[in-house]
Point group: C2
Chain length 633, copies 2
Amino acid sequence: MTSAKKQLTPVPFTAVRFEDAFWAPRIEVNRKVTLPHIYKKLEETGRISAYDLNFQRPVPSPIVLIFGDSDPAKWLEAASYSLATHPDPELEAIVDRVADKVISAQQPDGYLNTHFTVTQPEMRWKNLRDWHEMYCAGHWMEGAVAHYEATGKRKLLDAFARNADHIAKEFGPNPGQRRGYCGHPEIELALVRLYHATGNRAYLDLSKFFVDERGARPHYYDLEARERGEAPAKFWAKTYDYCQAEVPVREQSKVVGHAVRAVYLLTAMADLADEYNDESLLKAADRQWDNLVTRRMYLTGGIGPSQHNEGFTEDYDLPDETAYAETCATIGLVNWNHRMLQFAGESRFVDAMERGIYNGLLSGVSLEGSNFLYVNPLSSSGNRHRVPWFECPCCPPNVARTVASAGKYLYSTSADGLWLHLYAGNSAEIKLGGQSVKVKQETLYPWDGAVKLSFGLAQPQTFTLHLRVPGWCKSFSLSVNGAAQDVQPGAGGYLAITRAWQDGDVVTYTMDMPIEAVWANPQVRLLEGRVAIQRGPIVYCLEGVDHGGILLDQISVKASDITSSFKVEYKPDFLGGAAVITGQGRVIDGSSWGDALYQAKAPAEKDIQLTAIPYCVWDNREPGEMRVWLRQG
Amino acid sequence: MTSAKKQLTPVPFTAVRFEDAFWAPRIEVNRKVTLPHIYKKLEETGRISAYDLNFQRPVPSPIVLIFGDSDPAKWLEAASYSLATHPDPELEAIVDRVADKVISAQQPDGYLNTHFTVTQPEMRWKNLRDWHEMYCAGHWMEGAVAHYEATGKRKLLDAFARNADHIAKEFGPNPGQRRGYCGHPEIELALVRLYHATGNRAYLDLSKFFVDERGARPHYYDLEARERGEAPAKFWAKTYDYCQAEVPVREQSKVVGHAVRAVYLLTAMADLADEYNDESLLKAADRQWDNLVTRRMYLTGGIGPSQHNEGFTEDYDLPDETAYAETCATIGLVNWNHRMLQFAGESRFVDAMERGIYNGLLSGVSLEGSNFLYVNPLSSSGNRHRVPWFECPCCPPNVARTVASAGKYLYSTSADGLWLHLYAGNSAEIKLGGQSVKVKQETLYPWDGAVKLSFGLAQPQTFTLHLRVPGWCKSFSLSVNGAAQDVQPGAGGYLAITRAWQDGDVVTYTMDMPIEAVWANPQVRLLEGRVAIQRGPIVYCLEGVDHGGILLDQISVKASDITSSFKVEYKPDFLGGAAVITGQGRVIDGSSWGDALYQAKAPAEKDIQLTAIPYCVWDNREPGEMRVWLRQG
């Protein structure tokens, strides 16, 4: 990257209408099932009525209740996105009611947090490290921006602008202000969005202050702990790495601590690098990106292996079965990479984004839309199963807002033209060079690599079409109006076709999508001798239900069979429509083993027909074993 | 088994003098290093001064302090065994001082427990489920018996006989007595020993009462919980299986709950079956034995995979790296099998005993004698390392008493003759048919399978010599005074040679001891495709220190290489003297892999020279990776 200014601008999701078998049904399920389901759960768990400010709660309260305001915020953000593409008066009425209720809870000084208004008003802003006050505020700012953009109604936006004004008064570098920042990054990226929605640069500066102040000494979390009468050393996580505040962000080289916090902060860093043309910030983020993508990311785009800190541990520590890989963390990974992508249009960021979206993110929600995974392991003994809700329900509304706005990941524009990042069957209307360009994609992607792209233009226009060549794609073919094009990807991994595009022009782009055998870096402990099946961006897994409920590690495969004899078939009526891979493996045959627990004789083996399904749709049938990394035979 | 009466009688360890390179140095280290080390730690942690009854302790107290009396008890038992074979006036003086101090803490009514005398006298006998009062008493009874047998001094024995009298008054089936029993079995087996030492049959009956009462309804632990004002359902373990009291012992079919508790109870069940000729009790124990040995035992004789309950989980749940396999549990396994063996002389019990002793038991102590493992996993990432002491220091003195009395596992006598169970270089003087028979074994066992056995007899005697053919032994040869014998093992797995034995008779018995590749039952999850190296009773492992510190799972081996080309060499100066196995494997060579975390290309492999060492001596050098179950190449 040569500049810290974003050269690309994402095309908003509102410009994209999915017409495919992958996203369109998921967005419909999200709208019809997931959003009402989450709202019901929010009501049942008192997260809506909390804004009546008349609840009772023990002190100390469970942390999930303290930051409970963030859950309706994310739901309202998701609902607003849905309203933006699918107007729905009934849903809009509920959203309005919730917005009014939330606004009614705002204090005269602009403060707005139910827990610290009702239960512990004397503790307001007293524990930024642990109590998520700014995190909740940040999610509401995002919700308010979404609500405003979807409905044009300013009331919620104005309320959270007042809230931001209040925070900007309390915190900052000036005399009389506190130099604090939230233990759970989120407000930083939200303030950038609030700045864009309101034009008030004070929010941008506040975001920059929060990011720049992080890790400064004397440490704010030490100071506030002592003010509470607590020894700073009593902090359970033992290190401020947990909240990415052990060192200033520009000195951080590895991605550390709580994974969601890390990627939310990195997202804000990317945004601020652009806003302030701050190369040091972008370089710092890119350094962590490098560490993450070459050392600390699961094949599925899951991040944060450890339950202990819901986050990162050591380089190459990526155990499959005990993977934490929180759904929210992959969502954050996707959004951070989406931001990084806009600087120079580098495909490597879409590779990470795509890995996350089509695997460890969508695995977070069931196909029918009302059951969720918080933790996304790459192997299961059958003890994992999606559930309707969590004590800490951060993931469901996070998935909902992501699916509702999935269209935003597809396209960008730049001074010279149009960028296609992710492929999907859709019609989009994109503002480019002063006119509206209609783009229609016909493709079965991600189940097939052939994309037919048609342009609708009121008048011819010369621009560059940038087509991403995914990292997984080793060969492709391209034609424009039937004429084969000999074009190779540039340094950023995109094909660039510059011409005077005319109405009705058709680009046919076929990415070869063979079934591949994938290995992990040999430094990843416990994945030695194992191989995974991947096709295009889709990581596959075996499920017990397709293999007679045997222990899946009894199965072994030859990598050469995966690439030479395994077959793929798109099944429109199976698991919501999925390309299923079948092939032959070997299985240990315990039938002649007998009753001995150990013996000096190898167990027999026999052939077995294997069925591999996309990881993102595992556990949509009866619960059982699941395994991504297969034993090589 | 056709009778519930023991047909064999163990030859006491005092009759056996080790003259070998395996046990003799271990017993010497135990005497010279381990016993003083433990005593020092007991003093440092206030477990000796506790008997001055003037300590202060918070309420509620950590459970490890509540049952702290059991630690000096086991140490005194170990020290007494040592005195029995190695008189040592200095050690005897310390033992006497400790005994006097303990006796001085006895209450007028016979009660003797420091915690419930000093800290919570009002809670005496109020929580049998959790508080280990009888467990501590049981260990002191064992210590007192050992002390009496070693020194002839009755004072400690008399004190704990009074203690047992007190308990027998409080607990039992009669009106005015409570029908309670200890949550941690131990007193049951101790009371049998106390009965043998004192001749007082009341102790035997009390033991039987405790065993028979276990699991009866209404449940004693429910009743006592309610008396304490606690809801029985609040019991953390959720099931009385944890303490083997969910159902009556005769109805229990699987070995469940806390592993040490399980095997201590089963030991008492074996003893009581014999004492009362109670076939139902023996059958119940044998049923659990079958479940344990065919479903729930590690290759090393470790038992109890889970840290959660320090115990058993499900059939075939034997993960290697997270194995709990507490040292004390394997000690209990060994002692229980030693009891079961005496019924009919079945080699299967020695197979389990031997597996435990030479692997998961001796791994509990370092070769230099002052560092211990509590947990004995079969794979380590390098995060395990022996330590001098534990907050819960049950294992160190348990190892010490076991090593000090190891001679007891070797021989038994029966009406018809002499039984050799474990082989070891030693001289023994055994009472048989009214005369003293001298037996001398010359062997490098367990490092070699050749045993030369010489008899010393004042006059010829006709008896049957029963020689065990270990379960691991597929072929052997036998000669008497140079004349080859064609004899096959009987149903119990022993060779029987009946003759008029004469002074100077020599039996040469050679068990072939090839290097073997061993597999686990295919139902053991996560061991699929893995193989272990075993030779004779010794399970081998790889250590990082012998392989350049690479990740050991990068190594793969061919089972056919293990059995055909791997070599064994006894190295007298390596790891305390050990047979080391070497051979060629393959290793993943990451040097050409590059920086990618995942790629569609297999990593290179190359040959590697492997060094496998006995599992029981792992972690005696620098800490690092260790692995028993190797990946098959």
